[in-house]
């Protein structure tokens, strides 16, 4: 139930509208239990009939889940592509009007606009990363449920099915990754060069951290921690299991963020 709990946590923290797009892990797990208990006794006799039927039902549900992921993923991807372009255009406009060739003297407006753009870009970046996280969590869930199925029913569904999953659009996140990287380089141009030490202290002491994209930020942090937890090590560690996650130094910063005193709406 550990993954189930983690998944639930992740869903709770997730962006609005994404909640029901995740894997219905619990339902699938119940089905596996049902299949294994009902088929176990009947396997010997005429169980083959039941088994085939049960497996078909299971696969049917899995296919539905995958369709759900694909649809959601591709929709979000499309949105991101559009937004990405829009952001680029906005930045272009700002640079034109307030850059070296610009005519607008008002620095305050410029700063405001820049501020907005920065926030939007960072949030955009965050959402894309969260989509990749979504994809990954669902994949992990699928792999787990398939493993459970094989274990409980003695079937051999996992390997071929997972091959099919690997090629689904929702798992082929290359495009989004590319957009994320592009975003990162864009951000470097929009943000002033950082003066690390002092500003970090400012931030950690400040109580206005909440002003910066609360939902996304919180979700991101939660996602990282969840990932760490999921990979901590399990009783059924096998050749298809991922090794534990090693998050270097920043982890205490992350922890402090999550435990910040700011009330989350």
């Amino acid at each position: 139930m550990k993954f189930g709990k983690r998944l639930k946590q992740q869903i709770q923290e997730t962006l609005p509208g994404w909640g029901d797009k995740f894997l219905s892990y619990k339902e699938l797990k119940k089905l596996v239990k049902l299949i294994s208990s009902s088929c176990a006794s009947r396997m010997m006799m005429n169980g083959s009939l039941e088994y085939g039927k049960a497996e078909a039902e299971f696969v049917y549900l899995l296919n539905n889940e995958i369709d759900k992921f694909n649809a959601f993923f591709m929709e979000q991807e499309e949105d991101f592509i559009i937004r990405h372009k829009e952001l680029q255009q906005r930045i272009g406009r700002v640079i034109d009007t307030w850059g070296p060739n610009g005519s607008q003297p008002s620095e305050k407006d410029c700063k405001e606009e820049l501020g907005k753009i920065r926030k939007d870009i960072v949030d955009f970046h965050g959402e894309m990363v969260l989509l990749i996280n979504y994809s990954n969590i669902n994949y992990t869930g699928l792999a787990k449920i398939l493993k459970k199925y094989d274990k409980r029913t003695g079937g051999l569904l996992r390997s071929p099915y997972i091959q099919k999953v690997l090629q689904q659009p929702f798992f082929t996140t290359d495009l989004i990754s590319k957009l994320v990287k592009e975003c990162e380089s864009t951000i470097d141009t929009v943000f002033p060069p950082s003066c690390d030490v002092i500003s970090r202290q400012l931030v950690l002491g400040s109580e206005k951290i909440g002003a910066a994209g609360e939902g996304i930020f919180r979700n991101t942090v939660a996602a990282l921690l969840t990932m760490q937890e999921i990979r901590k090590g399990s009783s059924t560690y096998g050749r298809f299991s991922l090794p534990p996650l090693s998050l270097p130094d920043q982890s205490d910063v992350i922890q402090s963020q999550l435990n910040s005193p700011i009330a989350i709406p």
Binding site: L49, G52, K53, E55, A56, N63, D67, N70, A71, E78, I81, I82, K85, E86, K111, G115, K116, R118, K119, V122, V129, I132, N133, Y139, A143, P160, Q163, K164, Q167, P169, F171, T173, L175, V180, E184, F191, S194, S199, R200, L202, V203, K208, I209, A211, A212, G213, I216, F217, T220, M227, R231, R239, F240, S241, L242, P243, P244, L245, L247, Q257
Partner: protein
């Protein structure tokens, strides 16, 4: 018509079927099989042509959904089997419309809707097929359920050890076989029945084979049936190749930045997002396979995206104003704070992204390796049955993994120490699990010395 694939298909099916002593009837139906599939026309050409695409794409789902509701086993079998032959019919007809074999299955990509017409035609076919089948194939009427369930819901092959590309090429051969005949619209009921009977028998054959991983060929036949589902998702990624035919297709299109660029250009030419019409944009873009529905929905999104930033800017600037007002005296400091907060957020996001990438790559490689090793097992089993190389191989495997771990640690290419630790941990773990697996596996299963695999893995690591 391609003789070779036909022959190979015949051989495959025939060899399996002869095992069950059913060769007599079957060889005759088999001889009909390639020709049958070649000559297409069902008795309900109008019905089928009209709703063809819809049925084609809704076939897997419809059959699946009809399964629980159908009470009679026999009726169930027939609707599924007719679905199978219908599938082939559809594919051939749709490919008559100038599409290549694999792409004809693209329209299966949306599984969501259930068709109204399909069960209708299914019923018609099933009654006819029931007559035929009752005449000749009584023995197989008894236990059809699991087979069709296996097939019709795109159940992946349980013991499939074939690499994906192999499957696809087989299916393409078979599909080409189906498709290449000119008279795709002129089959008769006998042909359909032949298809149906063969479908039955194949599926029946699959069932006992389920538990025997070594029955390679039958798996191949079975797998090739699964391929449309895989293919569809793959091909959905290349929107340009999707069939432009069906007006009712609400097939999912995967947009790319390039496509979007073209879209924006077209929109700008037409005078902006407000003035542009979907039809105009579609015409200007001139992208094959793009339907007006795709453009419509994309245009809607585009408009929202442009309009919303203005709305949200107004909203967020209000918010910002209030928070800024609180610290209006320390304007500069707040600015820095906010910027730094954003920077921190970025750091965390970047970190998450990095980890996700690593995780994904690991997952891919794990599966790949697992598949590769399985393949080696199979090959070894086939080439040297009964010879137990387990001991020798395991030590070689250990050596190979040890070399690999060294390579990982010494390689300068691996960036984070975290990454190389992860990789090494994984390799060590796999080494252990490989040993365990050797013990658990059937003693006759041999583990090939993975002499090929270390170079394979190493070359990947060195990337």
């Amino acid at each position: 018509m391609e003789a070779r694939p036909a022959v190979s298909v015949q051989n495959v099916v025939a060899s399996q079927l002869s095992n069950c002593g059913a060769s007599g009837t079957l060889s005759s139906s088999l001889s009909m099989f390639p020709t049958a599939l070649g000559e297409k026309c069902t008795k309900f050409p109008d019905l089928q042509q009209a709703s063809m695409e819809k049925e084609l794409k809704q076939h897997p789902r419809t059959v699946a959904s009809s399964l629980p509701s159908n009470s009679g086993a026999v009726g169930l079998m027939f609707s599924s089997s007719s679905g199978f032959s219908a599938d082939l019919h559809f594919s051939s007809v749709s490919t008559q419309e100038k599409h290549s074999g694999p792409t004809s299955f693209i329209s299966q990509s949306t599984y969501s809707e259930t068709s109204i017409t399909f069960p209708h035609s299914g019923v018609l076919q099933s009654t006819a097929s029931s007559q035929y089948l009752n005449e000749n194939h009584e023995p197989w009427c008894i236990d059809p359920l699991p087979n069709f369930l296996d097939y019709s819901v795109d159940t992946p092959v349980q013991n499939s050890q074939v690499a994906c590309s192999d499957k696809q090429s087989d299916w393409q051969e078979w599909a080409d076989l189906v498709i290449n005949d000119e008279d795709a619209l002129t089959s008769n009921w006998n042909d359909i029945m032949a298809d149906t009977s063969i479908a039955d028998l194949e599926l029946k054959m699959q069932y006992p084979e389920e538990k025997q991983p070594l029955n390679f060929q039958m798996q191949q036949v079975q797998e090739s049936e699964q391929i449309p589902a895989v293919h569809v998702e793959n091909l959905a990624i290349a929107p340009a190749s999707s069939p432009a035919s069906s007006a009712a297709t609400k097939q999912r299109m995967r947009w790319t930045p390039e496509l979007h660029e073209a879209f924006v250009e077209a929109v700008n030419k037409l005078g902006g997002s407000e003035r542009a019409t979907p039809k105009g944009v579609l015409k200007l873009m001139k992208v094959e396979g793009l339907t007006i529905y795709h453009v419509k929905s994309h245009l809607q999104k585009y408009r929202t995206a442009r309009y919303k930033p203005e709305a949200s800017e107004a909203g967020s600037s209000e918010k910002k104003q209030s928070s800024l007002d609180d610290l209006s005296s320390l304007d500069l400091k707040t600015g820095i704070e906010i910027t730094e907060a954003l920077r921190l957020q970025m750091e965390v996001q970047k970190r998450l992204h990095e980890q996700l990438e690593i995780q994904r790559n690991l997952q891919l490689r794990i599966e790949e390796q697992g598949r590769y090793l399985q393949m080696m097992f199979e090959k070894q089993c086939k080439s040297m049955p009964g010879v137990d190389l387990a001991k020798g191989s395991s030590s070689m495997a250990d050596d190979a993994f040890a070399q690999l771990s060294d390579a990982v640690q010494n390689s300068p290419g691996t960036n984070d120490p975290g990454v190389s630790k992860i990789v090494t941990a994984k390799e060590v773990d796999e080494k252990q699990k490989l040993r365990e697996r050797e013990v658990l596996e059937d003693p006759e299963t041999n583990i090939t010395s993975p002499s090929d695999s270390p170079p394979l893995k190493r070359s990947k690591l060195d990337e």
